[in-house]
């Protein structure tokens, strides 16, 4: 595999986001757009407004993170008493009942991973905005990690779905989804979109500029 050591953008080329065809970037002005000669999708050398969109999405997700953790995720009613559980009280319940492995899985997936994603995405954004050239390869790996782990946060939503399917009215207890569920699901979806809207090539653009 030979390498020319030049980025597609510098070479006046563009890589299609969908089919990865490398083609010459046509001269376009104003409202015009260029289309991929192979698959027809609109071509961009970089994801449009990547930094601004990612900031907007990550801030929105952080706002949703608060009610998702403070409000109850499930409301259990049994024999006339009702009990509201947040994500954290669910984790504590698992620790007390002796299943610390499950407690760890729920804590990591629901509380730690979203938090970690906020930190990583904000770090990546700031590092690009402040034109850092430190360890671009490691930062690309961080980007890859955020893309891969985010979806696992959905596990708590699925636990609630399964619980309310199994424990229904007429049983000794009844479980209903609490108000946090909707905030939590929205938060997970928005962080997934945020990770997707960040363009890792921006990390390398800074490196390319500094090498000139």
């Amino acid at each position: 595999m030979k390498v020319a050591l030049i980025s597609a953008r510098k070479a006046g080329m563009v890589s299609c986001h969908d089919c990865h065809l490398l083609s010459r970037m046509p001269k376009i002005s104003g409202q015009q757009v260029a289309h991929c000669p192979r698959c027809g999708v609109v071509l961009h050398q970089r994801k449009p407004n990547s930094i601004m969109r990612t900031w907007a999405l990550v801030i929105t997700a952080m706002i949703f993170y608060v009610p998702a953790n403070v409000l109850p995720m499930t409301v259990t009613s049994a024999l006339g008493t009702t009990q509201a559980d947040t994500i954290m009280s669910g984790v504590i319940y698992f620790i007390h009942s002796g299943s610390w492995e499950i407690a760890l899985v729920v804590f990591v997936a629901s509380i730690f991973i979203p938090f970690l994603k906020f930190i990583i995405i904000i770090y990546l954004l700031l590092s690009v905005q402040f034109k850092s050239i430190k360890r671009p390869r490691d930062r690309t790996i961080l980007y890859r990690i955020t893309g891969a782990v985010g979806r696992w946060s959905m596990v708590d939503i699925f636990v609630v779905t399964i619980l309310i399917a199994l424990v229904q009215l007429g049983f000794l207890a009844n479980i209903a989804a609490g108000p946090a569920a909707i905030y939590f699901a929205t938060m997970v979806v928005i962080t997934m979109v945020a990770a997707e809207s960040f363009d890792p090539r921006l990390i390398w653009d800074v490196v390319d500029e500094k090498h000139e």
Binding site: M1, K2, V3, A4, I6, S7, A8, R9, A11, M13, S15, H17, D18, C19, H20, L21, L22, R38, C39, V41, Y93, F94, S97, I102, V105, V106, A109, P136, R137, T140, R144, G147, R151, M154, V155, D156, I157, F158, V159, T161, I162, L163, I164, A165, L166, V167, Q168, G170, F171, L172, A173, A177, A181, I182, T186, V189, P200, R201, W204, D205
Partner: protein, 199 residues
């Protein structure tokens, strides 16, 4: 020999003819640029067909049952979604329906729609947008996460009742692997070349 730019750092590479099962990685950032698959078309069609059979079993047969004393509550894969819907949390019901039921089905139907014509060497309409959608929806197919959710729910309810897994859970668990094999067998570079070359 053709050129490709890394999708994560934009560096241009010259790609020589790839050995089967070989992978090309970016020399600068390490991203996997392409992965050549042996018998991509046949393997994708085979795994996807197997997946569809398991899917029908997973959706129609009893999923989980809960036994507490003499009461037995039997559920299907869709019961939880129906419950969310009847509790008025439509967005959540829709999200679970999408990520665990509709998108996996769409992935399998989409793969067959693209790969059977490729096998038969015929052209079909909308093959390019269908394959595009297939690629974009990949992270939103969440069956393996649902399976982890089942495990957690079983531990949570284990104290108050016995959970009996049904045939559908087994089919669902197998489907996760089979669909994963089908998706891994897809040689997207080859698909784009063939779809683009025909137009």
């Amino acid at each position: 020999m053709h050129q490709i730019a890394c999708h994560e750092c934009d560096l241009i590479h010259d790609i020589p003819p790839m050995p089967t099962r070989g992978a090309a990685c970016c020399v600068r950032c390490g991203a996997v640029l392409l992965r050549a698959q042996a018998n991509s078309i046949d393997r994708t069609i085979a795994w996807t067909t197997a997946g569809l059979v398991l899917y029908v079993v997973a959706v129609t047969f009893p999923f989980l049952a809960m036994r507490s004393g003499s009461i037995i509550q039997e559920t299907a894969l869709l019961t939880g979604i129906q419950q969310l819907y009847s509790q008025g949390i439509y967005m959540l019901a829709f999200l679970v329906l999408l990520t665990c039921i509709l998108i996996p089905l769409g992935q399998m139907l989409g793969l067959l729609y693209i790969f059977i014509p490729l096998k038969l060497n015929v052209r079909v309409k909308f093959a390019i947008p269908v394959f595009r959608l297939f690629q974009h929806f990949k992270p939103w197919s969440m069956m393996e996460i649902y399976m982890l959710g089942i495990l957690i729910a079983m531990v949570k309810l284990g104290k108050m009742a016995t959970i009996v897994p049904g045939l559908a859970v087994i089919a669902f668990g197998l489907l996760i692997f089979v669909l994963n094999f089908a998706i891994t067998a897809v040689d997207s570079h080859m698909v784009w070349e063939r779809l683009g070359g025909e137009s």
